[in-house]
Symmetry: C2
Subunit: 299 residues, 2 copies
């Protein structure tokens, strides 16, 4: 089934205890689509600037990521510069230059307007809503967000949340969005606002799927060395949506499996900088690790 | 099979957003034995002072906790006073008066010396070692510890760790004990020091069981309201060891089930102050919630 992602493309400068990389390809839609493409084709809508190294797109095209919706605008590409220290749980942002992404006006190509599965990657909820308005109601729409939008665009965010099937948040975001300390109570509150599914990303502690009648928990895959956590969340979403689009079944059991695939893909992403590890991973390796992860919750 | 616990009995003064309780019965060995007694008889070795309200022991006796190893010494009972605020993840200690527990010299009654299952609750590793020296090697010994002993008695703690089957730690303790940020690497390091099993308590994020060939993760049971987190860790250990002593099978699968039972019991403990919720819980309720918890990791 067709899968569409709308989000950012960035040039990331990243420093971790394992080294430093300058202006490598990143951004939510890139991590998402590269991860989802392990399961099937992906259509990407985003924006880049004139400084973007176009040869990088070849990696995406080779993986059946359709980049016809990627627009080049005058100006520079979104640039993020960050650092991870200590337990590397949280990025310290050194600088953010929105550049062309700051004025991004997503135009969905006609042939993407009937996408079955849609992921609205992290971005302003106003922009996310613009995407929703352009497309025929899909089988499944998931959206991601962040603290910035919870604080600055809450009204628009609540409106968006009322119109999507699933929301992906991390532990801090769910507390901030609801003003509640207790995850379960907070999750139940958000489910009242509209979405059928809530996925809570907890980093090393794994992820939760919460719906009206489901509470499902998976651990983080215990990787030996985390070299760069950048893109973990979008890789997770990409693996999850990629698996769902491939199998085209929105049952609770299938979404549980999709979460396990999401965590599996993300566990590879963080083993090296940027997309390096994902570029080398094979479907066989994905399936092996998926089975290991599943065994970690089997009694 | 026979189960022995050696640890503290305390009179706790606890304040949470849900109220305040003065000098209620608590302490590691109390939460442990009360929880373990949901599965079978428990033998308790500890110390109290002259101020201890002896009628409180009737609750324990009614649950087949043998308190013949509970010694009354001149002076006062160990008294802890603490507060939980916000997300109630961590207790803020207002005061600790060790009193009779500060000079506790555990003497194991002869009839407990051949215990099959032993839990060395949180206490000085020197004291924990004194217990080990008095008993015939049991089928399974688990120990708990805390940051205080990691910082002040590390040498004795490492010696103890080399002589036990299993160690229970929380996320912070494992990092502090090994100086490592990464849980998996830290766990592997500790397994080299002697224990076969490592159990990592992660509060709302559940628990991990790590051995040479096992990595098993369970979520925290999503309780609706947490009124008082005191005793969660010892209730977890009590449920786990109680189930193991009852079933008398030290296989990986059985320890996984024991972890689920441990988390189940702890989830009841935190629903009310002190032992209040545990006093009201029935074996049927335990089994119902155990099944729910197991379903939360079933695909």
């Amino acid at each position: 089934m067709s899968l569409l992602v709308v989000g950012s493309v960035a040039l990331d400068t990243i420093e971790t205890p394992y080294g430093k990389k300058n202006r490598i390809m990143g951004g939510s839609s890139i991590y998402f689509s590269y991860s989802a493409s392990l399961f099937g084709p992906v259509n990407l809508v985003s924006v880049i600037g004139k400084d973007f190294p176009l040869e990088e797109l070849e990696f995406l095209k080779a993986r059946k990521v359709d980049v016809k919706g990627l627009k080049m605008e005058p100006g520079k590409t979104f640039a993020w510069c960050g650092r991870y220290i200590g337990d590397m749980c949280k990025a310290e942002t050194i600088s953010t230059e929105l550049n062309t992404f700051g004025t991004f006006n997503p135009v969905i190509p006609d042939k993407y307007k009937k996408s079955d599965y849609v992921f609205l990657a992290n971005g302003s909820p106003i922009l996310q809503m613009q995407v929703l308005k352009q497309i025929k109601p899909p089988k499944l729409v998931f959206a991601d967000t962040m603290n910035l939008w919870i604080n600055t665009e809450k009204k628009a965010l609540l409106k968006l949340i009322s119109q999507i099937d699933g929301l992906i948040l991390n532990n801090d975001e769910i507390k901030e969005l609801t003003g509640m300390h207790h995850i379960v109570a907070a999750a139940k509150e958000i489910l009242k606002w509209g979405p059928r599914f809530l996925v809570i990303k907890k980093g090393e502690h794994g992820a939760l799927l919460i719906s009206k009648d489901t509470f499902f928990a998976i651990p983080g895959y215990p990787v030996e060395v985390i070299r760069d956590p950048t893109g973990a969340g979008d890789s997770f979403a990409g693996g999850m949506m990629g698996y769902l689009a491939k199998t085209n079944k929105i049952s609770t059991t299938n979404i549980k499996k999709a979460l396990l695939y999401g965590n599996t893909v993300a566990s590879f992403t963080i083993e090296d900088f940027g997309l390096e590890r994902l570029k080398r991973v094979s479907p066989r390796k994905i399936n092996e690790r998926y089975k290991s992860l599943k065994a970690m919750i089997s009694v």
